[in-house]
């Protein structure tokens, strides 16, 4: 089925970004970003529905047929990712306005939104494209705009955080590019479907092994998988709150999707999971990430850093699903991408509100705040329960699907790691709850500049918290979608 829909999902935000630079007015810039988010989300949902109805969606850029031209190719897996990325952008939009006006000086706001729109474009492009080199192009678009966005954080530490991310991210991008180059040298094609066809013919060369290693390591850096995760906590903590809320829910997820795509189809499960021990390595690294990330989160004093370390642990669940190398594992990974995206976005929006109000979000200062703003902290409790994986929240559904995939493979160590990580999540979440509700509120603390929550943030939070609960109690459609997506990726008939 040939349609221009997949191209439009990416093209509209790409065209809106320069428009924002021309318009310059902060409110108009915000509205344009919102328009980009709305239109991509509407188109992404359209894609998802079409894919469900009629299978693959293909778009050939410039009418050039693959493998010569660039192909945009949407199946269930990337349709889900497109919906997630654009949906999160949409949900962050109401919150961004007030938060960004507080955190970024007015003359730079339009540049900020231009970068944010470009970042959205890059992430959508990575998900939509069916061309390996095009993935790299969009990876760099999203990364470069990401460096700029993080550097706009209002403390000077943001520059250092951004620089560290820049160094790591560039290394990751280069690794990925090297891997793609080697694949091109082997096969003479860059189209991902074509590559998959050429490489499953029993290639067992050193070049292919090197390519696989380069690609997996490069993507791991973008995913922030242990032990190449060091850039993430500082970047998330120092970036403007709206950026963190958006990127935490999307950037690492899209990179994880690309890893899943390359492992399951392009390089192929035979090489990745059978010939090379990449699957096993991913499983072990994911287990370490889940446990170590959660332990580190327990010791954080800054709320944003706590959430960032928790993200590292949660990314472990996703990579664990990918590392299993089964369709059930892929399904678990995709399910957790959605659920964790929604949960963590909500939590970072809360962090944004606190920064907007108090200038910082230190856990020790939370004492007594639930009395002033009960709804904000109710939303926090919902998000925390989601991170723990309590039934009734999306996190439970993820854990259920993941545990099913793990037990089916008899991966008992990983089962134990998932459970230990959940219990550690109880500790780092409940530490915050206890301080907030029962801590001694410091009388000398200056009264909050404004104790109200901005209307936009309330709207964002209400939708995100509602979504966390909704995905926890009515998730069969999502799990069926991801199960089908996983089956399609691994070519398993269902």
């Amino acid at each position: 089925m040939n349609t221009q829909l997949p191209v439009l999902v990416v093209l509209i935000p790409l065209l809106i970004a320069p428009l924002i630079v021309l318009v310059r007015n902060p409110t108009a810039a915000w509205a344009l970003f919102g328009a980009a988010a709305v239109s991509s989300f509407a188109l992404a949902v359209q894609c998802l529905l079409l894919v469900q109805e009629q299978g693959l969606l293909q778009a050939f850029l410039g009418g050039w047929e693959p493998p010569f031209g660039i192909e945009y190719r949407i199946d269930l897996a990337n349709a889900i990712v497109l919906c997630l990325v654009s949906g999160i952008a949409l949900l962050v939009t109401p919150m961004a306005k007030a938060s960004i006006e507080r955190e970024i000086s007015e003359p730079r706001i339009y540049l900020f939104y231009a970068c944010l729109t470009l970042c959205l474009t890059g992430l959508l492009g990575m998900a939509a494209t069916g061309d390996a080199f095009n993935v790299f192009v969009f990876l760099e678009i999203s990364s470069l705009s990401g460096y700029a966005l993080i550097a706009m954080g209002n403390s000077r530490r943001a520059l250092l955080a951004s620089f560290r991310y820049l160094v790591m991210g560039t290394v990751g991008g280069t690794f990925f590019l090297t891997g793609v180059g080697l694949l091109y040298a082997l096969t003479g094609t860059l189209n991902m479907a074509d590559l998959a066809g050429s490489l499953t013919m029993g290639f067992d060369s050193r070049v292919l092994i090197a390519a696989a290693a380069f690609i997996v390591v490069g993507l791991s850096i973008k995913i922030a998988l242990f032990p190449v995760h060091a850039w993430l906590p500082a970047a998330y903590a120092e970036a403007p709150s709206a950026v963190t809320a958006f990127m935490a829910a999307t950037a690492t997820k899209v990179a994880a999707y690309v890893l899943l795509r390359f492992a399951a189809t392009v390089i192929g499960p035979v090489v990745v999971f059978a010939t090379l021990p990449i699957g096993t390595a991913l499983v072990w690294l994911a287990c370490i990430a889940m446990v170590a990330g959660s332990i580190a989160a327990i010791y954080q004093t800054d709320f944003k850093r706590l959430l960032a370390w928790s993200s590292l642990a949660q990314i472990g669940y996703i990579v664990l699903g990918i590392g299993l190398g089964t369709d059930a594992g892929a399904s678990a990974a995709l399910t957790h991408m959605v659920n964790h995206g929604v949960i963590k976005c909500g939590l970072f929006v809360i962090a944004g509100v606190l920064v907007w109000r108090h200038g910082q979000a230190t856990v020790a200062n939370f004492a007594g705040m639930p009395q002033q703003s009960p709804w904000l902290f109710a939303a926090f409790v919902i998000g925390a329960l989601g991170l723990i994986g309590v039934p009734g929240t999306g996190g439970f559904i993820s854990k259920w699907v993941l545990l099913q995939a793990l037990i089916a493979e008899s991966a008992w160590v990983a089962v134990a790691a998932v459970l230990v990580s959940s219990l550690l999540a109880v500790i780092y979440c409940w530490r915050v709850v206890e301080i907030a509700w029962f801590g001694d509120s410091d009388a000398s603390q200056p009264p909050p500049a404004a104790s109200r929550t901005p209307v936009g943030a309330t709207l964002s939070l209400a939708m995100l918290s509602g979504l966390v609960v909704y995905l926890g109690v009515h998730s069969s459609w999502l799990v069926e979608l991801t199960a089908q997506a996983g089956a399609d990726l691994f070519g398993v008939g269902r």
């Binding site: 723990i388 309590v390 545990l403 099913q404 206890e434 009515h474």
Partner: protein, 490 residues
């Protein structure tokens, strides 16, 4: 209208209504009482239907592919629901009196969480599959946490941390994998008569799975996961009475019984001996907790350890894997609930009227509070299992079951435990009535809240008399419950 939906909706709506009625204490109490009364009427009204063989069902929607949010009213669940629903209105009256007398704050929050806990208990009672059960099991944990930490003191916070820590750890760490695993093995998580795991796994796997379930259901307080229950005693006494003697702990043992009967299947457990190890754990818990109870001077702590011991009766009944023992376990859910709630009501009345929390301070108090101590005595006799009190029947059935299974060590355990019960419960009554009063009359009597020197307020004494009489009545009126159980566990 579907009785299942009504039974779930009433406590939930009550919670909402209490939250909105928060400003007026009279209205708030009235709402709680009306909700409690309605729920009791609805639940007890369902008895003829269920005994008649009908199973009202509500399939809400699919949570996961193939796993519905499913509610089925079956006899075991009805029994547990009746216990929780029947005692809720009585506890509401008592709680209003207690909170007034003890001067507790945040009463609206208290009653909202209380109604939510009952909502969760109804969900557990009606759950038609393991996932629904797990969902409401966690709602119960979380809705009772604010009640445990109600006072907000450092001690209450520490208690709350242990409470949440152990209950969440066991449920997420053990119960969740057990449910996923059982679902994978059986291809379903629904509760079905005769179980779903027969022939689906080797005896060794079944034994591991069974242990995961029983320890994972941490609310059953099997040792070594029992510490949360004494820790929860920092809660106001009405919470200890209804939740930590009835709704929460019984949710644990009810789930153990239901999983044994309707997931594993008693015949399956019997043939594979999958439950044998857990029998020993339960037997050990019965004796060990009784011995610890003997050494507790704090009245509520003693009652808490007594609860731990009594809960393991029910677990033991389930693990024996004979129908008689399982029926005895079901009966014990009811009988122990009536007895233990009375004991806690008495402990709360003693605290409010005389600010006494230690057993050693109770000398001569029985003469000042004759009704309270009489009720305490009756309930103690019921727990010990002396006729004509309700507790007799459950011990009778459990012993019969042990004899049928030819497990003589269990008979011995039950007998020794009864002796230990006598040793830690009756001296309290004896102190109250027989020992001379420790303090001279009218010297340094607390002047706060205008307490008189005798019984607590009528709103507290009446409920505890009612439940004590209930222990007596249960001896005579046990027949419908036994018939219900025979229907559930043929």
């Amino acid at each position: 209208m579907n009785v299942v939906i009504v039974a779930l909706a009433i406590p939930l709506l009550t919670a909402l209504a209490v939250a909105f009625a928060g400003r007026s204490p009279a209205l708030r109490n009235a709402v709680t009482l009306i909700g409690g009364g309605l729920l009791a009427v609805v639940v007890f009204g369902a008895w003829p239907t269920v005994i008649g063989g009908d199973r009202p069902t509500w399939e809400a929607w699919a949570i996961l592919p193939g796993i519905e949010l499913l509610f089925v009213l079956e006899p075991l669940g009805l029994l547990y629901a009746s216990v929780a629903a029947g005692l809720w209105p009585i506890t509401s009256v008592y709680a209003a009196g207690y909170l007034e007398g003890a001067g507790e704050k945040h009463r609206t929050r208290f009653f909202v969480c209380f109604a939510l806990a009952i909502f969760a208990a109804m969900g557990i009672a009606l759950a038609g599959n393991l996932v629904t059960l797990f969902l409401f099991y966690e709602v119960l944990t979380l809705s009772t946490w604010p009640l445990v930490t109600h006072k907000g003191t450092a001690e209450a916070r520490r208690g709350g941390r242990i409470y949440l820590g152990i209950l969440i750890t066991t449920s997420v760490g053990l119960l969740l994998p057990a449910i996923v695993w059982a679902g994978l093995l059986a291809g379903t998580t629904e509760f079905r008569a005769g179980g779903i795991l027969t022939g689906k796994a080797s005896p060794a796997v079944l034994a591991v799975l069974y242990a995961l379930f029983l320890f994972g259901l941490g609310k059953a307080a099997l040792m070594p996961f029992h510490r949360w229950l004494p820790a929860a005693m920092v809660a106001p006494t009405p919470v200890s009475a209804l939740l930590h003697a009835v709704a929460v702990v019984k949710a644990g043992v009810f789930a153990v019984l239901k999983v044994s009967v309707m997931i594993f299947g008693l015949d399956n457990l019997d043939q594979t001996d999958a439950s044998e190890i857990m029998q020993w754990v339960a037997g050990f818990t019965i004796l060990m907790a009784s011995i610890i109870a003997l050494q507790q001077d704090n009245l509520k702590a003693r009652l808490a350890y007594s609860t731990i011991s009594q809960l393991s009766y029910i677990v033991l009944g389930a693990t024996m894997a004979t129908s008689l023992a399982a029926q005895g376990a079901g009966l014990h859910i009811v009988m122990h609930a009536l007895g233990k709630i009375t004991l806690f009501f008495c402990a709360g009345a003693i605290y409010v009227a005389h600010h006494k929390t230690l057993v050693s301070e109770l000398d001569g108090l029985g003469r000042k509070m004759p009704w309270t101590f009489a009720a305490f005595g009756l309930a103690s006799l019921s727990i010990i299992g002396i006729p004509p009190l309700g507790g007799t029947w459950s011990k009778w059935w459990l012993t019969l079951g042990a004899l049928e299974a030819e497990q003589y060590w269990i008979v011995a355990t039950l007998a020794i435990s009864s002796l230990l019960n006598i040793a830690y419960l009756l001296p309290i009554v004896a102190r109250g009535f027989l020992r001379p009063s420790a303090e001279p009359p009218h010297a340094g009597a607390p002047q706060d809240h205008g307490h008189h020197d005798g019984e607590a307020a009528a709103t507290m004494v009446a409920p505890l008399m009612l439940t004590a009489v209930g222990c007596l009545a249960a001896f005579v009126l046990a027949e419908p419950a036994i018939r219900l159980l025979q229907g559930a566990i043929p």
